[in-house]
Symmetry: C2
Subunit: 313 residues, 2 copies
Amino acid sequence: MSFDARAVLDARARTSPPEDPEVAAERRQAASGWFRELRDRLCAAFEAIEDDYAGPMNPDLAPGRFERTAWERPGGGGGEMSVMRGRVFEKVGVNISVVHGGFSPEFAKQIPGADRDPAPGGADGAGAQFWAAGVSLVAHMWSPHVPAAHMNTRHIRTTLGWFGGGGDLTPITPHAPDTARFHGAFKAACDAHDADYYPRFKAWCDDYFFLPHRGETRGVGGIFYDYLDSGDWARDFAFTRDVGLAFLDAYPAIIRAHMNRSWTEAERDYQLIRRGRYAEFNLLYDRGTQFGLKTGGNTEAILMSMPPHAKWP
Amino acid sequence: MSFDARAVLDARARTSPPEDPEVAAERRQAASGWFRELRDRLCAAFEAIEDDYAGPMNPDLAPGRFERTAWERPGGGGGEMSVMRGRVFEKVGVNISVVHGGFSPEFAKQIPGADRDPAPGGADGAGAQFWAAGVSLVAHMWSPHVPAAHMNTRHIRTTLGWFGGGGDLTPITPHAPDTARFHGAFKAACDAHDADYYPRFKAWCDDYFFLPHRGETRGVGGIFYDYLDSGDWARDFAFTRDVGLAFLDAYPAIIRAHMNRSWTEAERDYQLIRRGRYAEFNLLYDRGTQFGLKTGGNTEAILMSMPPHAKWP
């Protein structure tokens, strides 16, 4: 699945004309502006959940609020982490970043379009071999009845430009109506753009979030896509916005459906064991985590995805 | 450091005559017998600690006892896990294994002597490309004042045969007398065999147990060695036995020095955060873990090393 998309993009590297610099600058601006707006809307939705919580657990905790920390990338650009530790969200991170810079010649060979002139520079990344912006979210919840979730969308530009992202849901014990709601939102977003997207991107997600050593998937899936360049930038950007909005529609509703239920110590304990699997996936298999940590990325921002508390009893 | 030892072993592959089959069988027997004996002595020492504990914490827990589980390797051989969850040891695993089988041709190229005839077979591994036996131990303690520890020794045979292993100490807060005792025991074991061993194997350990993304070592080190074949099998086996005995001498004494002290919730919390680093090392960098999980090893036995409880707050 992933190979097809990558092959299409590689083929484009040989045929597509260089982008007009003004158009390129507008696109960078539009994409990074959207990721920031989506971040703000997600944080607002999650803070409203903290306010509206009316369950019996965590009686001593106040409604959570996000704390923001900006960071700079030594090679160019930077980002902003937003982290909340509340009474519904045990730990949730919503990170945005806009980075640019160079690859080593060897690494550039692995990145579509990165070994071809001209560079995608401009005022915010002049002469850079790549420019990348995105929003990334991981939520770990206090309640074993509320699924954990992950969402990420990104736009990457070398001499080519493409979108990627997706979202997946990790319930402690799968609950069919939640799974249906989550997949339904992504299916609707996909179908509005291309009838092939949902089946392809759902299968890609199932394939990606799999732990071979456990013989299990990380959760109940969602969608995953990468190297998306249909040839129509505006269309791909609109799809990527819709993926973010689908998540914003589905996940807060799933949280609200369960957040006021109490839980037992045994249910919580089982949640912590399942979170061990989540940690295993992130450290053993997740490409973003491995790539980020091994290329000098911001360790705190990358490991924001780790569960606040996990067990391997 | 590791490259030197590997190069010596690779050179030997071109010059050493085939081993007499009776001698080979005796050596397999002697090595696997020793690993089993060391396992029994370590388990007895740890159970005695559980009996002798007289501290104020964990008042409701009974002295722990090891539980044994045998497993078979589909490709040949198997092992025995011994796990104890007690009142001093939160989780300790002592695993032994004796396995044999074949490598894929591609993988065999990475293993000294594995792509050369004849195979190291015999009654317990006829026609196999490799035979390997070892003992492996990881201890995670309830008390933040008692260091975690890891020890492993192994003997691997292809058309060549070599020893490897080591031990390292991971205190939550380093304590100089413990560090001195642990390193002192290994230094004495090393110095009795070769004056070069301790400085080489200590440096190799520091190099191996390092987390680049954190810029920190996993703990206060110890020794690490691999591909050890001096040309005198009996000498290398005696050294490997002494490494095990040094650990058996030092680690229980370090536990006993601190086990009866109480601790605060803040100290325990910090311990759980440090254990997150331990989990990061094992899943991101440990060669044995990565190799085992990605080649269909016994997941439960491999992940016995994971901390029972960890935090990424």
